[in-house]
């Protein structure tokens, strides 16, 4: 059987036996202690402006970032962005109740649908679990509230990032995730998104909009 053969070959190669308690303890300790590499200096200082760092890094990666003071300003901000990019006022989001409460209905020309993306959707709207300051990255958890296809099929992807959820590092995000959903329980998909879809496969020149979104808007908002 392949499994036993491969594990046997590995143990032979390492010259170890299956009942080596010291090795087992070493592994168990690492999985328990979850050691971290030193955090990047740009976010490590206790008084770092994580929001400013997040925005700077994300803009470097060809995304658009806008700050809104209140969640109620989100629909208008999205409408402005879509108009500026000649996109229809039409979007789809997941079943996240916070999004339904934003007040899109106040803009009657807006067409809002919910559920996973279809090939005809022009804009997908997601909510980030965290923003990660060190590289301007947004962590999205898949599920009914955030169908994963919304971030890849439509031409435009808009992500709301709650200001209070902006953390310094990837490891900070994972710590929050473990606290929220329990150790070792992951959503089907955890997406770390740091820019629009891009490629440099033709002559080494960067082109935006390879297979996924052609544009990415991050809306940094106070608590939803």
């Amino acid at each position: 059987m392949s499994r036993a053969d491969i594990l046997g070959k590995i143990r032979n190669a390492l010259d170890v036996s299956t009942d080596d308690k010291l090795r087992q303890n070493t592994v168990a300790a690492r999985l328990w202690d979850l050691p971290r590499a030193t955090a990047p200096r740009r976010v490590a200082a206790p008084n770092t402006d994580l929001v400013a760092c997040f925005i700077e890094e994300l803009e470097r990666q060809l995304a658009t970032v806008k700050e809104v003071a209140r969640p109620s300003e989100i629909p208008a901000a999205i409408a402005d962005y879509l108009r500026a990019n000649n996109q229809p006022l039409r979007l789809r989001h997941g079943s996240d109740a916070r999004l339904a409460d934003l007040g899109f209905t106040a803009l009657p020309e807006f067409e809002i649908e919910t559920g996973p993306a279809t090939p005809n959707d022009s804009t997908g709207l997601s909510c980030a679990f965290t923003g990660i300051a060190e590289t301007g990255t947004m962590a999205l958890l898949s599920g009914p509230a955030n169908p994963v296809t919304l971030g890849f099929l439509p031409d435009t992807h808009i992500i709301i990032v709650p200001r209070g959820q902006i953390v310094a590092t990837y490891e900070d995000t994972f710590a929050l995730l473990r606290a929220e959903v329990g150790a070792a329980a992951m959503p089907r998909t955890l997406n770390l998104i740091s820019g629009p879809s891009r490629t440099a496969d033709i002559g080494g020149r960067i082109v935006i909009g390879a297979h996924g979104p052609r544009r990415l808007l991050a809306l940094v908002s106070s608590e939803l």
């Binding site: 690492r30 030193t38 169908p147 994963v148 990837y170 955890l190 390879a210 297979h211």
Partner: protein, 492 residues
């Protein structure tokens, strides 16, 4: 759209590296395509490294972490497998390329699949997956733009992260016009963006109709049973999110202990590879879609491939398994820059290929790749995992010699030199004589414009003749001078 070719599994041509290299050097399009490397990926990596002051310390951390992974590989694989199963996924262990291909074909048949989309995966190239599935009558579509272009051309990747780096834009336009015959003949394809758009439209259809999506994995995480893919295009995400089955093909050395450990390595990966702080998409996949998920695959399979890696683990080449496949070693290699990836004749080009391929496909086929190096050391200098590539290549050279694979003339020359080197006084006398003879025959010019057996070398440049004395003479004189100044312990 024209039907895609049905390529045979990749037959290695590493044994004829010299012939391949000669062809590559006279290929003007290839040379033009490669000319962008120094100002492109090399400069971008340097800039990203400079923006992260802890980069060098992080390399040490990454090296130690990967050593820890390899030292406990069996335990982390067992833990990883348990977590995948707990999340509702399936794990298939494959000792060989054939086992892996057979397992994937079984999964596809069980899913009654006709059409398969693929994200970029070097391991799938290693096992010849496309040919295997196509022979069984399945349609296999590469979705990474570079890989898609290569599939149209019936070629293999020449670079592990920029697979079509050997092509110039005009070649891609020609391919698209030839293969996408259903599109208007007079359409504009002058800009990269127009070419990208055309591929986007065509591949959209494929994404939406695929039955199975196959991706590789940059890392596997023992803590959670997750597989990670790192992309910029988003093709990997469409590949794995839309079909009803997601298959991950990964080698056993990809497992890391925790999400935090993956974070440390991800900080190094994109910066070393493309000079980005982070790629647009880094995606962690764990099991199939949950009960209340509105999208995502209904089944999730992982193929764990050995294919020679457990032997490497027990050998003096273990360090090559630390590799996280960033490709920096290729971008910085003067030999790769001159001949491109295809000359290396098998899946993994450049110095990693020279250190890894003989372990995977044998010394007879790939041992000679270790000679495709000037030992300048740039690969080791930029390797985020600090793999001592020149040391590993030197060792393969020794093994190639021991196993009698080194060409006869080279063997004689090496033997002769080794014998002579055992007699220092004879060696010194002979080198003194040669220095004098060469200086004399070079004449006033002080250089040779032509030399026997080295016509290829002197055709492009002159060989300067030795000036004056031998190295040993100069060394002895300096030692003497230093001793007379009373600091004999100090080397000059």
């Amino acid at each position: 759209m024209a039907s895609l070719g049905q390529p045979a599994p990749m037959q290695p041509t590493s044994h004829q590296f010299k012939k391949n290299a000669r062809t590559a050097l006279s290929d003007h399009q290839l040379q033009e395509a490669l000319s962008g490397l120094p100002t492109g990926l090399v400069a971008q990596r340097a800039a990203a490294r400079d923006r992260l002051p802890e980069f060098e310390a992080l390399r040490d951390y990454g090296r130690d972490l990967r050593n820890h992974c390899l030292d406990h590989l069996d335990l982390y694989l067992e833990r990883y497998e348990a977590r995948v199963i707990a999340a509702g996924g399936h794990v298939h262990w494959a000792e060989t390329a054939e086992d892996a291909c057979a397992a994937i074909l079984r999964i596809c048949k069980a899913a009654d699949a006709k059409s398969i989309t693929k994200g970029k995966s070097m391991v799938s190239e290693e096992i010849g997956l496309n040919a295997h599935l196509q022979t069984a009558g399945l349609e296999v579509i590469e979705t990474d733009l570079g890989e898609y272009i290569l599939q149209l051309r019936d070629e293999t990747p020449s670079h592990i992260i920029a697979p079509a780096i050997h092509l110039i834009q005009g070649q891609v336009e020609g391919d698209f016009r030839r293969q996408h015959q259903h599109l208007p003949k007079n359409r504009r394809l002058d800009e990269p963006a127009e070419l990208v758009d055309e591929a986007r439209q065509i591949l959209r259809e494929k994404f939406l109709s695929a039955d199975v999506g196959i991706t590789g994995a940059n890392f596997l995480i023992a803590e959670t049973g997750s597989s990670i893919i790192v992309t910029n295009e988003g093709n990997g995400d469409l590949t794995q999110s839309l079909p009803k089955v997601h298959v991950v093909i990964a080698a056993i050395d990809k497992v890391v202990p925790t999400l935090n450990d993956a974070s440390a390595l991800l900080r190094l990966l994109a910066r070393s590879a493309t000079g980005q702080e982070f790629t647009s998409y880094t995606t962690f996949s764990t099991g199939p879609r949950r009960a209340d998920d509105p999208d995502g695959p209904e089944a999730y399979h992982v193929i764990l491939l050995d294919n020679g890696r457990s032997e490497l683990l027990g050998s003096e080449f273990r360090e090559v398994l630390r590799c996280i496949r960033c490709g920096a070693y290729m971008n910085h290699c003067p030999v790769y820059n001159a001949v491109g990836g295809h000359a290396y004749g098998w899946v993994y080009p450049g110095p990693i290929g020279a250190a890894l391929n003989p372990g995977l496909i044998g010394v007879k086929e790939a041992g000679t790749l270790a000679n495709a190096s000037t030992f300048c050391g740039r690969c080791e200098a930029v390797c985020p995992m600090r793999i001592p590539l020149p040391k590993l290549m030197r060792r393969w050279r020794e093994i190639e010699f021991e196993e009698g694979e080194t060409p006869v003339l080279t063997r004689w020359a090496l033997r002769g030199w080794a014998t002579l080197a055992q007699w220092p006084s004879a060696y010194h006398r002979l080198s003194r004589f040669m220095v004098g003879a060469m200086r004399f025959s070079a004449g006033k010019h002080g250089a040779f414009t032509w030399l026997p057996f080295a016509g290829g070398w002197t055709a492009g440049r002159d060989l300067p003749a030795p000036q004056g004395r031998t190295f040993q003479q100069i060394w002895a004189e300096r030692q003497k001078a230093a001793a007379s100044q009373g600091n004999s312990s100090e080397a000059p």
